[in-house]
Amino acid sequence: METLYAICVGAMTTGGVFLVLRGYTFAVVLGLTLLSYAVNLFLFASGRLVVNGAVILGESDNYADPLPQALVLTAIVIGFAMTAFALILALRARSDLGNDQVDGKTQIYDELPNKARNARQAGDD
């Protein structure tokens, strides 16, 4: 079971890192999300794997390690906050820089169908 768990964590890390290395903000944030899943599973694994040992006193006689669980919980919350910030920063970048690439420069071409691009603006002038 541990092998499979490690493989999954490795695979998710791979996917996350690959996406983080892309040139578009959306892909990067997506990658960070994937990576944070991997991170959470990894951090969780530092307490080893226990089945049917939830740390509710009196519910089991083979408790899992509660500490990493608490840490992962904190990490999930912080991860959510960070993802939200990064995503909206990506919007801001698109608003300020005109495209959604991480460097704010068009590398190949900026995709946005002309018909969808239109004049209605949601900003102060």
Binding site: V29, L32, V39, L43, M82, A93, L97, D103
Partner: protein, 501 residues
């Protein structure tokens, strides 16, 4: 209720409470009240830091156990000389940066003051905590606050810099957690003192794990500390953010350095058994290259803010070299240099901001432009900051430089440290003299019809610059203090072993 017994917690509590209260009536929405409130908090923080410093000198390290749970189970805040020096530095910087911001920058977007307080809270927490996961939490606090402050005021360049800074740091945070997981898996504890205590007796089977974890943390701290090749975020981030924020950010790279001290110098330092000095082999070449890359970037700079930012990289490289030296003298020298470079680079950011405002279209670019409105005042400011950063007497830079040179003179390859260190000073001199003579003297046209810098901004600059000569005048006691702090840091595992079961 004896408040003084909770003194260690004040540097975190005060800004946290302030940040919260600023969001609530009667403070929210009133810039004036917020300014006064934060100013008062900053003064309190300064006093607290002084008191803590006094305490740590008088009584050695003290602990504050959150929730009254004993170590290593609860989260400990630890105040020792090193921590309180950092707190004092932060308080001073924060006071100055905030004063500068109150001249008008604070109103260029919502929530400046609460975010500023949260930023200070995060930094102070990172300095105080004795728990490695709590360190992560405070890193995240200071990071998220810095993301938010970074974009204060808006603008394309700022947004672009923020995208890089934020995404890179988010990736960094992932590796932080990977590292933490491995360390917990190996040590079964999160308390850093406990780790230090256990490092030497770690199971052979767990040593490789501990190494991986510790080195992953080195990467993360290196990212904050601007260790090559992780330093790329720094110049644009600092150069493009608003002036007071850039000034406050001067402490940010130092948080990375500080964390390396706490983790790699203390836990995995001389007493780490098989884990001893595991970071040194990696730090050596990377720190050296950081310094060199910093010098290259300094020479390539085209605006004063960019130059200042690149000088921050140089100072980071210098500090990292002292870390690579990994002995008490070097650490002491590094601490002195850290204080000096933080204050002066913050000051130079502010000065650059003032010059930018007064030079019209040319801003702080090294091109001919209209003369500044207050050439004498800004000129003196610039001169002091520049001399300090170059490492020329009579300002604090030279003491730091000499300390480092002396600390490294015994090293096997002293030349490898001396050469880049001295050359970096020369490069700074070349660029700062060019910068100064261009910005102040290569003028055309009339100065702008403005009134010159707001008094608050001048006060802010004076606060920072004033520290530099003081650091020289009181260089004796100060370097004595840094030496004691360094000894305490390096001895930490032994000290813990005496206390811990």
């Amino acid at each position: 209720m004896d408040l003084m017994q909770h003194l260690i917690f004040f540097p975190v509590l005060l800004p946290l409470l302030a940040g919260i209260l600023l969001l609530l009536p009667p403070l929210n929405g009133h810039l004036d009240r917020q300014r006064v409130a934060v100013f008062l908090i900053n003064v309190l923080l300064l006093l607290t830091a002084v008191a803590l410093l006094q305490k740590s000198i008088a009584a050695g390290p003290q602990m504050y156990m959150m929730g009254d749970w004993q170590a290593p189970f609860g989260i400990a805040l630890i105040n020792d000389r090193l921590a309180s020096v950092m707190l004092l530095l932060t308080a001073l910087l924060s006071l100055a940066a905030h004063t500068y911001a109150c001249a008008g920058d604070d109103g260029r977007g919502p929530f400046f003051h609460p975010l500023f307080m949260f930023q200070v809270m995060g930094i102070n927490g990172a300095f105080l905590t004795g728990d490695i996961f709590n360190l992560f939490v405070f890193f995240e606090i200071l990071l998220i606050a810095s993301y938010s402050l970074l974009i204060h005021g808006g603008g394309k360049q700022r947004t672009q810099a923020a995208v890089h800074y934020v995404l890179l740091n988010l990736a960094g945070s992932s590796f932080f957690l990977f590292g933490l997981g491995v360390l917990y898996a190996a040590f079964g504890t999160l308390n850093m003192a406990d780790m230090a205590h256990k490092a030497a007796q770690l199971d052979a089977d767990d040593i490789a794990l501990a190494k991986s974890g510790a080195l992953l943390l080195l990467v993360v701290f290196g990212l904050k500390a601007a260790l090559l090749p992780l330093h790329f975020w720094l110049p644009r981030t600092y150069a493009f953010t608003s002036t007071p924020v850039a000034a406050l950010f001067a402490i940010m790279t130092k948080v990375g350095i500080y964390s390396i001290w706490r983790v790699h110098t203390a836990i995995f330092g001389d007493y780490g058994g098989e884990l001893a000095g595991l970071a040194v082999g990696w730090l050596w070449p990377l720190a050296w290259l950081t310094l060199v890359a910093g010098v290259v970037a300094v020479l390539a700079s085209q605006t004063l803010k960019m130059l200042t930012a690149n000088l921050v990289v140089v100072s980071a490289g210098t500090l990292l070299l002292t870390l690579a030296l990994n002995d008490v003298q070097a650490t002491a020298a590094g601490l002195y240099y850290l204080i000096h470079s933080t204050l002066l680079s913050a000051a130079l950011f502010m000065i650059a901001g003032l010059i930018q405002e007064q030079r019209g279209q040319s801003q702080d670019r090294f091109v001919r432009g209209r003369p500044v409105v207050q050439p004498v005042l800004l000129g003196i400011f610039f001169m002091v900051a520049a001399l300090g950063l170059i490492g020329m007497p009579p300002f604090s830079g030279f003491v730091g430089k000499i300390l480092i040179l002396q600390a490294s003179s015994a090293a096997v390859d002293a030349a490898w440290i001396w050469a880049p260190l001295l050359i970096s000073g020369l490069a700074a001199m070349v660029m700062l003299s060019r910068a100064g003579s261009t910005l102040f003297w290569r003028a055309q046209g009339q100065p702008a019809q403005s009134d010159g810098a707001e008094p608050l901004k001048i006060v802010a600059v004076l606060l920072l610059l004033g520290a530099s000569p003081l650091m020289v005048v009181f260089g004796g006691p100060l370097s004595e203090l840094t030496l004691a702090a360094a000894e305490e840091l390096h001895r930490a595992p032994v000290a813990v072993a005496e206390v811990m079961p």
